[in-house]
């Protein structure tokens, strides 16, 4: 990629960032996410980082896809509906540059919305955690902020993957209504559908036991959950360890595949 296309990429990304910052609905969504995370962390009475991760894991698994789809499903769709896409196509911007730039802009906003509250609630542990007595010698056990940091990084990666899927939704939907419908469907599929499918496959014998790890890699939520349990909780709880490779590959495949779909479908034919 030459310097020119990088500049174009950044220009598109900057435009998306500006859109996000100017849209109050996004600020409200981000604020809502932050409030939920803070409330959960507070009511969980976090005495350590690992318990905090376990308390946040399930909510994050549901809320991050919702947030990412909300942030992303109208990215291209909005441009198309307002006719701006037709204008953009008159610029010397390739499909890949436009999609990637738009993705970067929206994803950057999403990452800020996800990382900031998650990092902030970690402060509850040093502030209010501990073992509640000084009479008896205590130690940190296996608990460590490093483990929490892993959780934040994995959550960010998960958000990036779902944002890529949201991009694919936004390039394929023909109307706002269709966009909402597809986004909701995708959200339900992520949170419930894929895993339910794997369970059904396991019951029906379609998914052999040996391939369960691989199958879980195909579901972004399961891949994310597996990676968190493995890298954060694994050393502590001593559950049978799963290989992180299928999960990592699965998430990467979703990221690349969704962006590729978005690129291919964002527009077709010659520049007008």
């Amino acid at each position: 990629m030459n310097r020119e296309s990088v500049d174009r990429l950044l220009a598109v990304a900057g435009r998306e960032l500006a859109t996000v910052v100017r849209t109050r609905a996004f600020l409200a969504l981000a604020g809502g996410f932050a409030v939920v995370v803070a409330a959960l962390a507070w009511t969980a009475g976090a005495v350590g980082y690992v318990p905090l991760v376990l308390d946040l894991l399930t909510p994050v698994e549901v809320l991050v896809p919702a947030l990412a789809l909300a942030f992303g499903y109208r990215t291209v769709l909005g441009d198309a509906e307002r006719g701006e896409l037709d204008v953009i196509r008159t610029y010397p911007v390739s499909r890949a540059t436009y999609v990637l730039g738009a993705y970067l802009g929206r994803a950057a906003a999403l990452l800020v919305a996800v990382i900031v509250p998650l990092s902030a609630v970690a402060l509850l542990v040093p502030l209010f955690g501990g073992v509640g007595t000084t009479v008896v010698a205590s130690h940190a056990a296996s608990d460590s902020p490093v483990l929490y940091l892993r959780f934040v990084v994995l959550t960010a990666a998960f958000a990036l993957v779902v944002m890529a899927a949201a991009m694919a939704v936004s390039t394929n939907a023909r109307s706002s209504r269709a966009g909402v419908a597809v986004a909701v469907t995708l959200g339900v599929a992520l949170v419930v559908g894929f895993d339910a499918g794997i369970v059904a496959g396991l019951v029906g014998g379609v998914v052999p036991e040996g391939a369960l790890e691989l199958a879980l890699g195909l579901s972004p939520n399961s891949a994310f959950r597996g990676l968190v349990l493995e890298s954060v909780v694994g050393g502590v709880a001593g559950a049978p360890s799963t290989s992180p490779v299928p999960s990592v590959l699965g998430l990467l495949a979703w990221l690349a595949g969704a962006l590729a779909v978005a690129t291919v479908t964002v527009w077709s034919g010659e520049r007008r």
């Binding site: 960032l17 910052v21 350590g48 909510p59 010698a137 056990a141 296996s142 608990d143 892993r150 502590v236």
Partner: protein, 679 residues
């Protein structure tokens, strides 16, 4: 808007944070801490005191766990090895991050002729810490501690080898020691039940043996063959019966103190009509030799001395000498002193002090006795005071007084089928001090401060099938490796209290208490499963230690209002229950709490909560709550019999914002001696 900076910052943040995957968490081993600062496990209070008094060294260990944030100290390497192998240990504590053991490489050790393990206190010798995996252990030497075999660790292999050469045993590494079993740990439920049966059988044999004393031929009848009781005892040949016909006998009026039986005789009255009246000084009847029976009489006029300071015995150097004098030499209706195999049967005593004192009398039996004590416990003493005697106390009734049965250092005794009627003024129904391996079974206690209480960290007590009602606390067992089962506790402030470690609580029925179960140990090693909790104001309080998991082998306890359904049909609810949690604890009594408890988000959030219990805030979680009561008939009886009294109890219930604070006020109000400090 220039996205460069935002993207650059995000990229940098993620890149740096990703380094967290490279860092090896928990790579550095924590340094050892002073042993006094740890939570200790592994030895009874009696053994600890004994070891200290006799200067016996006990090799120690301390463990840093991955999932338990207090440092745990162990008296004895053997007890550590056994505890590490206990089922459920890893679930609650995680894996050991670091284990340190006493290092005797620089200590001047010796083993006495009796095998006691000692360390010289010369300044040139000292005991340090060594990591267990770097240590060399001498196993099977003749070195002993009060807790059993001493496994002796050294950092230096050659020192270990020379110790083994001198005192026997072999040198082993940590892995070999760890996989050993030293029989210091807790038994399984099945082994405990076998133990209960064995104890009952032992008691049956003692009772049969002692009851045979009633078959002795009558040699002297008081009033016919001899003018007075002392004269009759004097005249009767050994192994015969002195018959005491109906009538009142002024025992101490003869001037030489109480009636003393110093030969194997049976003293038998005609029931309540045979009345032995003391003059209010000392015990009324005292047996000072084995195989004496006192049966079918009524006694009054007992002295009011609790602790006789003027006694002198040959026990002056025993570690518990002060306890012996303080408790074992008070006045009583009948005193058995060094009277092995003796019997007190169907005797009723009105007393301002003890009913029966049994000291230094193995295999004695107290059967069918009735003791009427003081209205308020501070004015009286024990129904039966057992000291240093493995005895049987059964089928007796204790009204008022301080404790129904008090035991001191009487390992293996049996207290069964007794009735303690506290009438609100009694302290403890059954009170065990420094007593291990005892059976307390099928006693009924009402109106006491605590129904059955075991203090001073003993081992292996069996508290089974007792019923406690209308008391401040039902059953409170301290110590280790004990069995608390099939007890029914109804309408108390606390149903069960558990300061114990590595003990089993099963098949107890906990009904209509203010607080069903008080989990008060800092170290979560009790196995609490298959108990029924019904109609308690609060299920559980826990103020110390981490989250406890009350589930084993896929089964937990029955909580009457636990939400969820048994979709699997295996008798277990699908949803974990947190009896101490903010929502679940209110399910039964706060309208709406049940609705909230069934919220999928709540279920989702708590799904992973049991994963690292050791790092959780204190409380209790049951991962497999039972769909049906374990003992439904008992639950119904307990709840039904009590229906009318509920409102009254509710009125006097102490609001329980803080379990500790409540405990303190209650202690203050009723003047209960603090736990463990009674002696």
């Amino acid at each position: 808007m220039n996205p460069k900076r935002v993207l650059a910052v995000l990229f940098a943040v993620l890149l740096v944070s990703s380094a967290s995957f490279v860092v090896d968490v928990g790579a550095d081993r924590p340094a050892p801490v002073p042993f006094e600062d740890t939570i200790t496990m592994g030895m009874t209070a009696a053994a600890t005191v004994q070891a200290e008094e006799r200067g016996v060294e006990v090799p120690r260990a301390e463990v840093f766990y991955s999932q338990y944030r207090y440092v745990v100290g162990y008296h004895g390497v053997a007890s550590l090895a056994d505890e590490l192998g206990r089922e459920g240990h890893a679930r609650q504590f995680g894996t050991p991050l670091a284990i340190y053991v006493s290092d005797y490489a620089n200590a001047d050790l010796n083993v006495t002729d009796e095998g006691l393990f000692r360390i010289s206190d010369a300044p040139s010798t000292y005991e340090g810490w060594v990591a267990a995996e770097d240590a060399h252990f001498v196993v099977g030497s003749r070195a002993r501690t009060p807790a059993g075999e001493a496994v002796v660790p050294f950092s230096d292999r050659s020192v270990a080898e020379s110790f083994a050469a001198e005192h026997g045993g072999t040198v082993r590494d940590w892995d070999a020691v760890r996989s050993n079993s030293f029989d210091t740990g807790a038994a399984t439920g099945e082994a405990f039940r076998a133990e209960v049966r064995a104890q009952h059988e032992w008691a049956d044999r003692q009772v049969a043996n002692a009851t045979a004393l009633l078959d002795r031929p009558v040699s002297v009848v008081v009033g016919e063959d001899a003018p007075t009781l002392p004269a009759a005892v004097e005249a009767a040949p050994p192994n015969t019966t002195v018959r005491v016909p109906a009538g009142t006998y002024d025992v101490n009026a003869t001037g030489d103190g109480s009636l003393t039986v110093d030969k194997p005789l049976t003293l038998r009255g005609a029931g309540n009509d045979t009345h032995l009246r003391g003059d209010g000084n000392g015990s009324v009847v005292t047996a000072t030799t084995g195989r004496v029976a006192v049966a079918d009489i009524r006694i009054s006029g007992v002295g009011d001395t609790f602790s006789d300071e003027n006694v002198s015995t040959d026990q002056g150097d025993a570690w518990d000498y002060r306890v012996q004098l303080g408790y074992g030499y008070g006045d009583a209706g009948v005193t058995l002193d060094s009277a092995n195999g003796s019997l007190v049967r169907n005797v009723s005593v009105d007393t301002p002090a003890n009913g029966v004192v049994v000291r230094w009398s193995e295999n004695a039996v107290v059967d069918g006795v009735t003791v009427n004590g003081s209205d308020d416990w501070t004015d009286g003493f024990m129904g039966v005071m057992v000291m240093r005697s493995r005895t049987v106390v059964q089928n007796s009734t204790f009204v008022g007084g301080r404790d129904g049965v008090y035991t001191h250092l009487s390992d293996g005794l049996v207290v069964r089928d007794n009735r303690m009627v506290g009438e609100g003024g009694m302290r403890f129904g059954v009170h065990e001090m420094y007593t291990s391996d005892a059976l307390v079974a099928d006693n009924a206690v009402t109106g006491a401060s605590t129904g059955v209480v075991v203090m001073t960290r003993p081992n292996g007590n069996l508290v089974v099938g007792n019923h406690v009602r209308d008391s401040y606390a039902g059953v409170n067992v301290a110590g280790r490796a004990s069995y608390v089962a099939e007890n029914v506790v109804v309408d108390n402030h606390y149903g069960l209290e558990a300061p114990s470690q590595t003990s089993i609580y099963e098949r107890n029925v906990v009904v209509e208490n203010d607080i069903g179960f008080r989990a008060s140990s800092l170290i979560p090693t009790n196995r609490v499963v298959e108990n029924d909790f019904v109609d308690n104001d609060r299920y559980v309080t826990a103020s110390l230690g981490p989250l406890r998991v009350w589930t084993a082998d896929g089964r937990g306890n029955y909580w009457d209002d636990a939400p969820g359904s048994d979709a699997g049909g295996d008798g277990v609810l699908d949803r974990p229950f947190q009896p101490s949690g903010p929502v679940d604890s209110r399910v039964g009594d706060t309208p709406g709490a049940a609705t909230l408890a069934n919220s999928p988000s709540l279920t989702a959030i708590r799904a992973l909560q049991g994963a690292v219990p050791g790092l959780r805030p204190t409380g209790v979680v049951d991962e497999a709550p039972l769909a049906d009561p374990v003992r439904p008939a008992v639950v119904d009886r307990a709840a039904g019999a009590n229906g009318t009294e509920t409102t009254e109890t509710d009125a006097t219930a102490v609001p329980d914002g803080d379990a500790n604070a409540t405990e303190m006020t209650a202690v203050g109000a009723t003047g209960i001696a603090p736990m463990e400090g009674d002696a």
